[in-house]
């Protein structure tokens, strides 16, 4: 059911682990829903110098985490914010329909980390990144509001 690319990113996830000197950390998802994603970034001069993730979730959740971090690594914040879930999915050669929501999580994770970055700088992230995705609700329920 998974593409070769998905399986590759699941079995050999890129950028996995904590980032000790992260200055941007975002967590999205909810363990109740079966997936939670934590993104660590080191941002310098509006550029994502380094990035890593930790994910509790299914194969798709882990692979999209890995792919999303790859896609934004070295990119500007603006570029990272324009990352869509379908870009992540496409880069993985697609996902089974029932797994598409996992790719949403990756997009949200990136945004949540950038939101955190702004917040640490005393800037309200909402106008820039939109909803900061750190609410308690399950990310799916979240999407319904």
């Amino acid at each position: 059911m998974y593409s070769e690319k998905v399986l590759d990113h699941f079995y050999n996830p890129r950028n996995v682990g904590e980032l000790p000197d992260a200055n941007a950390i975002g967590t999205v998802g909810n363990p109740r829903c079966g997936d939670i994603m934590k993104i660590y970034m080191k941002i310098e001069d509006d550029i994502i110098k380094d990035i890593s993730f930790k994910t509790f979730g299914c194969g798709a959740a882990i692979a999209t985490s890995s792919m999303a971090t790859e896609l934004v690594k070295g990119k500007t914040i603006q570029e990272a914010l324009s990352l869509t879930n379908s870009a992540v999915t496409d880069a993985l050669d697609g996902l089974p329909p029932q797994k598409l929501h996992c790719s949403v999580l990756a997009e949200e994770g990136i945004k949540a980390a950038i939101g955190d970055y702004y917040r640490r700088q005393g800037i309200d992230p909402e106008p820039i990144v939109g909803c900061s995705f750190d609410c308690e609700a399950c990310h799916k329920e979240h999407h319904e509001h």
Binding site: Y11, P13, P31, G34, D35, K54, F56, C58
Partner: protein, 392 residues
Amino acid sequence: MRIVYADNAATTSVSRTALEAMLPYFTEHYGNPSTIYSVGREARRALDTAREKVAKALGTEAKEIYFTGGGTEADNWAIRGTAELRQKKGKHIITTAIEHHAVLHTCKDLEKHGYEVTYLPVDEYGRVTADQLRGAIREDTILVSIMAANNEIGTILPIKELCAIAHEKGVLFHTDAVQAVGHIPLDVKELDVDMLSVSAHKFRGPKGIGALYVRRGLSLPPLLTGGGQESGRRSGTENVAGACGMAAALEESVEHMDENVKKVSAMRDRLIEGLLKIPYSRLTGDPVNRLPGTASFVFEFIEGESMILSLDAAGICASSGSACSSGSLDPSHVLTAIGLPHEVAHGSLRLSINECNTEEDIDYILQTLPPIIQRLRDMSPLWEDYIKKFKA
């Protein structure tokens, strides 16, 4: 790559005996059993013999066995048929919260048509008690449907006792015995059930064939109408090869049941003992009254599907009741029914073995799974948080 198949509760390989029993009925004795000439008579004889074998294995007579297209059809037939048969008496059905979807979704469907269904809750081991059932039976209860053994957690339910309570109150009793037949001793006359569902592919028969035992005298209306096969109870040209395969597999299973139970449950116990050494792991299901082949667990801080994929990469076939592996957002209804919080239920793993497995398979699983769990936990933010909380 070495393949260790440990998902025999999902389906099994067809045994050599079963396959050989089927083969003549594809190309040689391919006749339609309803016909009277030579080629058809051979098919009829085979079908009759298959029915007798299945009946014997279940402790009953051929005329009480009806072949179906599988366990799901048998469950649908028993429940929908009884609903129709007894609608004048009432529209209340009792089942449990841990039934297979073939029962549960059929009950849900009947709710849309004016039936009322009580889903008996279960305890942490997946058990229902006689008192619970007694308390739930009403004047208008027409059917109790309780599974003989659960497919996810392996708990064996006390069907004989539960059936007696239903009968005390004049209520029909159906049991979905799909996971039990061929694996544990089972006698419909001793259990005294009115209907019992069987599916061949769970005991090394082929897929797409099953049976419903219907107690003599119970005029269950057909689910499939047509040519009047199966004494008018289940129309459709009979799957002769399938019936022969099922009968042969069941006969073989029953013949070797004692030794299989001994061998398989010893392997299961090694799995349980070995894997419970992993920290933050728990066994699911009844620790004592469980299917010989089912070792089911939850491992905290990780998600089931990623475990399944990792095991698959090592050649081990297993399953999980996590949300992701079921394609929904919620973990299996069985795991939540036994009281597991969602986040824990997501980390479920079911290893189901049978007599085809070897001690080496068990060794391999015992040695392969712990590092997988470690790796996934290392990747999990939940584990990170948990560990930090302790360090702090």
